[in-house]
């Protein structure tokens, strides 16, 4: 038996060498291939300056790629479904959508893991929480590009490595059959009538949305003082919890419909989309609190290792154009260029009317990347200690 085994080994080894030779040959071929196409590449517009590429050139360059790889774009989140379909129809591009439920950290990990790969697992563009841009830039994961509407974008990296595309404000989603008098501000949540009725849409230790829920309440208490917001936010939620008002169930459409979580804090565009999906069963009311209105912007970026760099830039040109920005608005997300578009009168009145009143957003507070990171660290490290007293 042992001699038989040895002979098998030999064959395997020989096979292995053969395979190795083939692999080596193909590697050489592969190494040659880029050289052959170089003349064509030279004709394409420059990517290194980060300046906007004229649309006709960009469209032509994107045509040679014909494909775009996106990640973490749920179709019911900020109307990304329509965004993707419109882009496909307009430019005849194939869109390869990676995991729609990935979180911001996963998106950056996907870029990093596929640095050396041009395959279908390498995302061209990402849409991440603004706080994650610092990490992405430190690791050199983003390429700079300033879209043609750059000047009217209100929140962005000065060098063009990322820019906000849309934002939402934290709002109360209130299930009407359960709650007669809707809370109007954060302090209202402490009222005895809301005992066991106040929930968050995520776990503070895991979700950025819930960290911001803590922060926003604190901002309301501190009268807008950002330095005290994190601490006072924890104190506020401790009181909500001590009063028995906080219910630790993580709210989603199911628990809202069933009535277990009648008051939920979440981004207004998700709450409004929920309202549409629930279609009156139950009736819900979306309220932007009077004080402590926190804006949650998302940031767009292009992978520094994008397999389809021109299509990626075209994607952002489209999204940051009036047309793309209005698609966000249809999904109840506030486009970042809203003020510019409103000034020029290109926001259709019926679209604007579906949002909570514009005054509610007037004093929305935007956090810088540093402020976001500091608040997140403080809140997650102290949440359990302060709120649950552990």
């Amino acid at each position: 038996m042992s001699s038989k085994k040895r002979s098998t080994d030999k064959v395997t080894r020989r096979d292995f060498l053969k395979v190795g030779a083939v692999a080596g040959a193909s590697a050489i071929l592969a190494a040659c291939a880029p050289k052959a196409t170089e003349p064509a590449a030279a004709a394409l517009p420059d990517l290194t300056s980060g300046n906007a590429i004229p649309m006709d050139e960009l469209v032509a360059a994107a045509k040679t790629e014909g494909e775009l790889t996106t990640i973490a774009l749920p179709h019911d989140w900020a109307n990304y479904g329509e965004m993707i379909d419109t882009f496909k129809a307009k430019y005849g591009t194939k869109i390869n959508e990676l995991d729609p439920n990935a979180g911001s950290a996963d998106e950056l990990a996907a870029i990093e893991a596929n640095k050396d790969s041009k395959g279908p697992q390498a995302p061209d563009t990402v849409d991440v929480g603004v706080g994650h841009t610092a990490n992405a830039m430190a690791k050199g994961l983003f390429a700079k590009y300033k879209v043609s509407t750059w000047d009217t974008i209100e929140m962005k990296d000065p060098d063009g490595y990322w820019w906000a595309e849309y934002y939402g404000a934290l709002a109360f989603e209130v299930s009407k059959p359960e709650i007669e008098n809707s809370p109007q501000d954060w302090e209202d949540l402490l009222k005895p009538e809301y005992k066991g009725k106040v929930a968050m849409a995520g776990d503070v230790l895991k979700s950025n949305q819930s960290v911001m829920t803590v922060y926003a309440a604190g901002l309301s208490r501190s009268g807008g003082d950002k330095t005290k917001a994190a601490e006072m936010g924890l104190q506020f939620w401790k009181e909500v919890n001590d009063a028995g008002n906080f219910i630790p169930v993580i709210a989603d459409q199911g628990t809202i419909a069933q009535g277990e979580t009648p008051i939920v804090m979440e981004w207004d565009y998700l709450a409004l989309a929920n309202r549409d999906a629930l279609a009156g069963n139950p009736e819900t009311e979306i309220i932007v609190p009077k004080t402590g209105v926190i804006a949650g912007p998302y940031a767009g970026g292009i992978s520094a290792f994008a397999p389809h760099p021109y299509t990626a830039r075209l994607w952002w040109e489209f999204i940051m154009s009036d047309e793309g920005q209005l698609i966000y608005l249809k999904g109840y997300a506030h486009p970042i260029r809203f003020n510019d578009m409103a000034k020029r009168g290109v926001v259709p009145a019926d679209l604007a009317a579906k949002l909570p009143p514009a005054e509610a957003y007037a004093n929305a507070v935007f956090l810088t990347v540093d402020e976001l990171q500091a608040a997140t660290t403080y809140i997650t490290e102290n949440w359990r200690k302060v709120v649950y007293g552990e």
Partner: protein
């Protein structure tokens, strides 16, 4: 539920402990059908365990460190999490064992109609696998603040279950939820053990003038005790590793080890895989001890089931 299945195979295989046949050298061909199992076990059990072990000694920037392991014994949050996990596992294991045993006894030896037994065993098979998000939602929808049962008690009997400070979102509440899959598992495993009590033993006891008490005290219970204890340990492990149920039920409100690991590994916010791995290593350690206990007790139990 892999644990249960393994357990059942051990039982039905019936390795005669008294007289082992002389061992034959197994040929490679005989092992071949097991290859998929070994492949599966390697990929989903051994490799992840090794990666957990290695990852436990990795710092956030990829270097070697003991800090993660030290943190297990020093950070209050982690100690509390182990305490809570152990408490809830112990409560539901013992509770599940007692109720499950009584139920299994009633079904197998209680002289109930045959149909009821089939029904109970089938139900237990289904219920012991009912866990995760659906189970959590089922309890939220029935016993939550706005649950069907809560509301019905209020309207029909004017009884407020929250009056005494009780809330379903607590260790007690979560224990009730866990019991839903714990005691059916006990029924499933204890039913064959009770079947293994031969009629002749109780008859022999009666012939020698023993009472029912004597029979249980000196015959049935000593035979059953390895099964009982073994299954209790199994229930303990079953609850100890549960994650989805607890998370869907109340997020990180109840500080359990699996929930803490989840926050370290995949959160938007906290992110320290090394710590997550160290926490998991602690769980693997505790689970290994309970599995060793289970296997050795099961060996003893198997003797009487021939």
């Amino acid at each position: 539920m892999g644990i249960t299945n393994e357990k059942l195979t051990v039982q039905s295989k019936g390795d005669a402990p008294m007289a082992r046949p002389p061992r034959k050298r197994a040929s490679v061909v005989n092992w071949l059908p097991l290859a998929p199992f070994f492949l599966f076990a390697t990929m989903f059990l051994f490799l992840p365990s090794i990666s957990i072990f290695i990852g436990s000694f990795e710092s956030a920037d990829g270097g070697f460190t003991f800090n993660n392991i030290i943190a297990l014994f020093t950070v209050k949050d982690f100690i509390n999490a182990y305490k809570a996990s152990l408490t809830i596992s112990a409560i539901t294991a013992v509770g599940g064992a007692v109720f499950g045993f009584l139920l299994a006894y009633a079904v197998v030896l209680g002289g109930l109609p045959k149909g009821l037994r089939t029904f109970m065993i089938t139900f237990s098979g289904v219920a012991s696998n009912f866990a995760g998000v659906p189970l959590a939602f089922a309890f939220i929808a029935t016993m939550g603040n706005n649950g069907l049962v809560t509301r019905w008690l209020e309207s029909a009997f004017n009884f407020d279950i929250h009056a005494g400070g009780f809330t379903i979102y607590s260790i007690t509440g979560l224990s009730i939820v866990y019991m839903y899959f714990q005691f059916p598992l006990m029924v499933l495993i204890m039913a064959p053990a009770l079947d293994g009590l031969h009629q002749e033993w109780s008859e022999a006891c009666a012939n020698l003038g023993g009472t029912s008490w004597h029979y249980w005290r000196y015959i049935a219970f000593p035979i059953l005790i390895p099964s009982l204890l073994g299954t209790t340990i199994l229930l303990f492990g079953n609850a100890f590793g549960a994650y989805a149920t607890a998370y869907a039920f109340s997020g990180s409100f109840i500080n359990l080890v699996p929930i803490l690991i989840g926050a370290q590994m995949q959160g938007d916010v906290l992110f320290n895989p090394g710590l997550g791995n160290a926490l998991a290593l602690g769980m693997v350690f505790i689970m290994s001890i309970s599995m060793i206990g289970y296997i050795s007790l099961q060996r003893r139990a198997a003797r009487w089931l021939q």
